[in-house]
Symmetry: C2
Subunit: 318 residues, 2 copies
């Protein structure tokens, strides 16, 4: 059982996470997380490992499971997000494991750092977002840099995991350098350390100043998109209601309908593109205007427009 | 209280989510989610809303809170991820709310669809990932398309939220079109519907075939990156151990050290770049090779290389 315990406070563990630990014969994990579940582990075998021994932890878990033990591998956050789920499957496959080999794998999901940190600063993730780890222990820097550049250019809200350590100090400066090519220096940034734990610390800063903040191994750095703002100590990314509604009046803008795609949604946009092409505007010019690949515009315009589906019932939630 | 209840099974709710609902005088939410907490809501005011009325739900919550009620706004997944946290802050600010106005806001984090769906299919998110909503109800299509294109090009694992509805059927085809410009047709894709619920359904398919699968409002589409694979019914994205370790032998590759950055990590990469420049290779050529902006290479090379920090103690986990 790969158990994600969430941010690291008992009340934010799920029922299933607690039950999995209670059911297990052997608990493997980092000391700090095992302390949190002290009430559940009496009489069990407990294997405390340090942070760097991920593969060792997975190998140890497999050995115990082969010996007939029920094992809980405890991770903070979500075991699937930069957590133990990956190394465990790598070790299992390497060892020739199959699902019918008698060893079952269960992954118990939890809130990852991105969810917990967001909850503590407001509503920064209400729109599209990315998680990027700045650790180059296993990943070549150009791969990380390309992701930073792409995420910055496409206006994602971005959470940086593993932003800085004693040894890795320049990565965050490089991330800033890449972001400043696409985002305003005053873009809001929140740095959240140890969310929901005793030493929780939250700092609001900006893209221009973030490298001067106290950032360490237990920090997550949340960089807003072009519409994210901070007001009254809350970092919020608007979901886009203002694109459709007059928020003061509570009614839709002209040409927009509640429960329907925006007039600049896919179908409206395709119709406008067709009209622009009919008006003699070149695909090169349209690709530039919309900042999309020319081949994409050409290929999507080559397909017939779908009928407007007026008969279909109102669409559900966002 | 904005309460994320996770995937929608009682055992995956956190203690805090259950306590928040138990403490509340008024519960507002979608009928399906309220049914899950039937045991906690006896004697309370319950306001059931349909999916499309997000702003109404937030306004109703504010009105009740002003009348002195403790209100729980219940969301599936995480209230901060395409959930009620965003609309609620938008309504609060619109109404002139401040943190010292006597109305407190608490966001209770939970596992979002990306975490729950990943847990059900294996370990697809062990490396950098994005969440992108295909809904164009509030977001212009070119914004969504640019994000799809960027995420595909930079080799993120991607979770598509709101991939298809009765009315919005072509968006997923457009997403596929954009991805196929950067990823192999056989890239693994998992489509997870109603994770951890009674009608859970998981389909493994490929980028080339995903649009033919049963995809609806309750589906999340997980698209692997260039190294994601499916084996024995598990979708796994390797974390990168193979870059550093000989997994069969358990030792590091030549030139690599456990607990240290890769030889192609930031510092090693910068040293190699300097050597390439000294050898007369142009920045244009290097930018092409590394698929990074020329200006970025120029600017980072203009800074002195940091000393290798041999004295600093071993780094912690990934």
């Amino acid at each position: 059982m790969l158990v994600g315990i969430g941010p690291g406070s008992v009340e934010h563990m799920t029922g299933r996470a607690r039950a999995a630990i209670a059911e297990a014969d052997t608990i493997i994990g980092y000391v700090t997380y095992i302390k949190l579940v002290a009430d559940l582990i009496e009489g069990k075998e407990v294997i405390r490992k340090s942070m760097t021994e991920e593969l060792d932890r997975a190998i140890e878990a497999l050995e115990r499971a082969r010996a007939g033990k029920k094992v809980a591998l405890v991770s903070s956050g979500d075991a699937g997000v930069y957590g133990m789920a990956g190394p465990t499957y790598e070790v299992l496959f390497q060892a020739g494991w199959t699902p019918d080999s008698g060893i079952e794998v269960e992954i118990v999901p939890g809130a990852s750092a991105i969810n917990s940190c967001a909850a503590r600063v407001g509503a920064p993730l209400t729109h599209d977002f990315c998680a990027i780890s700045l650790s180059d222990l296993l990943t070549p820097w150009p791969v990380i840099a390309r992701r930073l550049d792409a995420a910055a250019a496409a206006d994602f809200v971005v959470a940086l995991y593993n932003p800085r350590s004693g040894r890795r100090t320049r990565q965050i400066t490089e991330a800033q350098r890449l972001f400043l090519r696409h985002r305003r220096p005053e873009t809001p940034v929140a740095i959240v350390k140890s969310a929901y734990r005793r030493r929780e610390n939250i700092v609001f800063t900006t893209l221009a100043q973030m490298v001067d903040a106290d950032i360490g191994m237990l920090s997550t750095v949340l960089i807003g998109n072009s519409s994210t703002f901070v007001r009254h100590g809350c970092m919020v990314t608007p979901r886009g209601y203002a694109n459709k509604y007059d928020l003061a009046q509570g009614c839709t803008h002209e040409g927009e309908k509640a429960g329907r795609s925006l007039s600049t949604g896919l179908l409206g946009w395709l119709q406008n593109l067709q009209a622009d092409v009919a008006d003699g505007i070149s695909l090169e010019e349209l690709a530039r205007r919309h900042r999309l690949p020319l081949e994409y515009l050409r290929d999507t315009l080559a397909e017939p427009l779908p009928e407007a589906l007026e008969a279909v019932s109102e669409e559900g939630g966002e």
